[in-house]
């Protein structure tokens, strides 16, 4: 119904796929998106790039009608979305389709069932036209060059194929005109990416009313895939550049902005005094698993905080898990205070003195339905164990109370189920859980993930002042600000290898430099 341009449109409007006018979204205490104006043209592949928290995903959610804007409008031919009327259904009617990072399909149903769900082809009287649907789906599969059949069970297909099918559904079956691709390239293989790019180009050329908006935080991808790119920073669209006329380095500069340290600057501190004589706490030598990370070497001293920086899939998460025994390494060696270690299970690592804070708090760390007390003590029950394995309960409660007070966890009591607490308080409890095992090394994966903005500096302070006081800390963060604020050294991971080491006190120990290395932007 939107295929025919209305005759009243001016030439400028005819060239325009959609336009954002003063689009704004406020959350309590945060201005997530701040008066964004943006025009995306028909036939264009438009990139939106920015660091974590720059407002990309909120912006895209507003375009897709998932979040109503606080102010401003999304204008597409045929209508608009604004604070009053924005809904996913309305966005859909305007021809807008968002391909999410993780497609939501009915896993037990076939590809055909999923692609035609709710819009089945019929031969009349409600009887389905299976042959017709199968043909259409086979067509989609061919065009995307996928390894699947219309009768494949969706759940059996790799996530990358599911993602591309979601794309195919939007373009070929729903005939959406405004396609938003949210980090879709993150999980695609190199070869697949190139093919997808080719397909986007062909499609844009074939039907001139299509536009693609690609959300990414990978500079290289945006450079490769897009015609123009809009840079988001602190909720604002700071620049829209023609991709052909810019380069990775200047794009990186736009993204980072003036090199100023924002966020928990008060946690910044002088470099740890090097204790040259001391034996390193933890040494990794040529560590590799033959797949996700290769030839990693570093050493960690007591009192030191090392940061691992890198994109998703850069190998930093895998390396951290390997140090804790959650996954094996094939080559190289890890030494803890001089003796070689290799753990088959987390409890062995804990016993040896390595504590690990996982990234996905609710899935991997929080024990739901259980009180603060149990969540604090679960890794250190040995401490309060009496005869026959019975626990000195009062001793346990005393410790839990003490630790809870020490980190100022806001909870009515230690008997409150942990589920009632906020993300920041849960995280503090988990940090208490780790520190009660009195480890030599803390491995922290995104310690401030899912924590209120206001609570982040306090958590980093704990990492810096308390955890690093007696131990060594390795910390992963997607925020370069946090790494600069907290770490003595930052190791940058790129495609499974450590490509750069930045040290506190050196002139290149800045948010901007870390960001560029993380993105794999070459030195000039």
């Amino acid at each position: 119904m939107l295929a025919v341009a209305l005759p009243t449109e001016s030439p400028a409007q005819a060239a325009e796929s959609y336009r954002l006018a003063g689009l704004t979204r406020r959350f309590p205490g945060v201005l997530a998106v701040d008066q964004v104006d943006l025009t995306v043209r028909r036939g264009e592949i438009h990139g939106i790039i920015g660091r974590n928290g720059a407002g990309k995903s909120v912006l895209v959610s507003m375009i897709a009608g998932l979040i109503p804007p606080s102010a401003g409008t999304v204008l597409a031919s045929g209508g608009q979305l604004d604070a009053e009327n924005a809904t996913p259904v309305r966005a859909h009617r305007l021809g807008i389709s968002l391909i999410p990072q993780e497609p939501r399909f009915a896993r037990a149903l076939t590809v055909t069932d999923n692609l035609f769900m709710g819009r089945e082809l019929t031969v009349g009287l409600g009887f389905l036209d299976p042959a017709g649907m199968r043909r259409a789906v086979a067509d989609v599969i061919d065009r995307l060059e996928l390894d699947a059949s219309p009768a494949s069970r969706m759940g059996d297909l790799p996530i990358e194929t599911q993602q591309l099918l979601a794309f195919g559904k939007a373009v070929f079956i729903e005939h959406a005109r405004i396609i938003l691709l949210d980090e879709i390239t993150a999980s695609l293989s190199r070869q697949r990416k190139t093919r997808l790019l080719g397909l986007l180009r062909t499609l844009a050329a074939e039907s001139a009313d299509l536009s693609f908006t690609l959300i990414s935080h990978h500079i290289t991808e945006v450079m490769e895939f897009t015609d123009r790119v809009t840079v988001m920073r602190d909720g604002r669209a700071v620049a829209t550049l023609a991709t052909a006329k810019t380069d990775e380095r200047s794009l990186a500069n736009w993204i980072v902005g003036d090199v100023k340290i924002t966020g928990p600057a008060q946690a910044a501190r002088p470099a740890a005094k090097p204790r040259a004589a001391a034996m390193p706490l933890l040494t990794a030598d040529g560590l590799g698993d033959g797949r996700d990370f290769h030839d990693l070497s570093f050493r960690l001293q007591r009192g030191e905080v090392i940061g691992f920086a890198g994109l998703e899939g850069s190998g930093k998460d895998a390396a951290l898990e390997a140090l804790f025994g959650l996954r094996p390494f094939r080559t190289g060696e890890v030494r803890l205070e001089g003796s070689s270690v290799r753990f088959a299970a987390p409890r062995e690592a804990l016993k040896a003195g390595i504590a690990f804070l996982p990234k996905h708090r609710e899935v991997q760390a929080v024990i739901q339905n259980r009180p603060v007390e149990d969540n604090t003590l679960i890794s250190s029950l040995r401490r309060i164990q009496g005869p026959l394995g019975f626990l000195r309960v009062h001793e346990g409660q005393r410790i839990a109370r003490e630790k809870t007070a020490e980190l100022q966890v806001k909870t009515p009591s230690i008997f409150t189920p942990i589920d009632h607490l906020s993300g920041g308080n849960k995280q503090k409890i988990l940090i208490n859980r780790l520190s009660l095992t009195t480890p030599k090394v803390f491995l922290l994966n995104e310690p401030t993930r899912g924590v209120d903005l206001a609570a982040k500096p306090a958590l980093l302070q704990v990492v810096r002042d308390k955890l690093a006081a007696q131990s060594g800390v390795i910390m992963l963060s997607e925020s370069e600000d946090e790494l600069v604020a907290c770490c003595d050294r930052v190791l940058v991971f790129f495609r499974g290898r450590i490509t750069r080491v930045l040290e506190r006190g050196k002139p290149d120990f800045t948010v901007g430099e870390i960001y560029k290395s993380v993105q794999g932007v070459e030195e000039p």
Binding site: L326, A345, P346, R347, L350, K351, F356, P358, V363, Q364, A365, V366, I367, Q368, N369, R370, D374, L377, I378, S379, L381, Q385, L388, G389, F390, L391, V393, H420, R433, T437
Partner: protein
């Protein structure tokens, strides 16, 4: 004052609805002549002891997020094998007084088999224990198709005899077991580990809990408790029959669920299942006293159970509403 009353009522509804149900049943019982007599009450407890053991065993397995259907067969297998060993196979070597430890060891092995196959070999516990349910029962039927009667006192002692002339030892064992389980669940490392892995196995693993070993331990505990329950029942009936406990696993599930045990794992309390076992036993007793015809008894029982389970299911919603 009314505020604290309200809070009390709310607590009852949120956590202890099963106790309210128990009180209600006792109140109904008061109107029935003969219910309140010491003899009748003792009988209620006595009849409840074997089921109480099986429910407690199932409770441990359910807390880990697994289940064990074979408990009702272990219930028969352990005493049967012990009786065969003592009376037929090794009558000269084994003193009949050793029946109890032998029963417990057989229960342990039966539970360990379930635990090992389902945990270490990673086979669905429903399927594993469905198979062992058949195998264990099959062994019993093979060994004692006609049943064994006139058992020596050493074998029936635990289920049959009374101290002070009125209190069955079985009832004392039952109480002690629940007390022990309460301590184990609330004040022991094992209990903390069980709750941790029942609510979030991945988090428990990362936090250093030996998840597999804890799970297998729970299967072993369940086997031992079911075996002990079987011994008490054999003593109470003074005979071992091939269909001992057959079909009782459903009642054990009913008890565990009525007592507030979550089927998904990690939720439940010893007090809750204790009350639930009493509730089941009292319902049966009241049906006896009311003279409900045996042919319709099962229908009545099923309906009462349905109502009771509906009522206890309300407490989850009360809790959600309050949050």
């Amino acid at each position: 004052m009314s505020g604290s009353l309200q809070a009390f009522v709310r607590t009852v509804f949120e956590r202890h609805l099963i106790w309210a149900l128990l009180v209600l049943l006792v109140l109904i019982g008061l109107t029935v002549p003969g219910f309140l007599s010491t003899r009748n009450l003792i009988n209620v407890l006595w009849a409840a002891a074997p089921l109480g053991c099986v429910v407690l065993g199932l409770f441990f397995v359910l807390l880990t997020g697994s289940l064990d259907l074979s408990l009702e067969s272990t219930f028969a297998l352990a005493p049967t094998l012990a009786i065969m060993i003592v009376l037929n196979w090794l009558p000269d070597l084994v003193w009949p007084g050793l029946t109890m430890p032998i029963v417990l060891v057989i229960g342990l092995v039966a539970g360990m088999v379930n635990g090992f196959i389902s945990v270490r070999l990673g086979v669905n516990a429903f399927l594993v224990t469905l198979a062992t349910l058949l195998v264990y029962r099959g062994i019993v039927i093979f060994l004692i198709p006609e049943g064994i009667y006139y058992l020596p006192i050493e074998m029936t002692f635990w289920g049959e005899s009374r101290i002070l002339g009125f209190l069955p030892i079985a009832v004392i064992i039952w109480f002690v077991l629940y007390g022990l389980a309460f301590a184990l669940i609330n004040y022991h490392r094992l209990g903390k580990n069980i709750f941790a892995l029942g609510n979030n196995p991945e988090a428990a693993f990362i936090a250093g809990v030996d998840v597999d070993r804890t799970r297998i331990t729970c299967f072993c505990i369940a086997g031992v408790l079911a075996a002990l329950g079987g011994l008490l029942e054999v003593g109470r009936l003074q005979s071992a029959v091939a269909d001992l406990g057959q079909g009782d696993i459903l009642m054990a599930f009913a008890g565990a669920i009525l007592g507030g045990t979550g089927l998904a794992g990690g939720v439940g309390s010893v007090g809750g299942i204790f009350a639930a076992v009493l509730v089941i036993s009292i319902i049966e007793n009241l049906m006896n006293l009311f003279g409900v015809e045996p042919s319709v008894r099962q229908i009545v029982f099923g309906l009462i159970l349905l109502a009771a389970i509906y009522l206890t299911s309300l407490q989850g919603r009360v809790r959600v509403g309050a949050a």
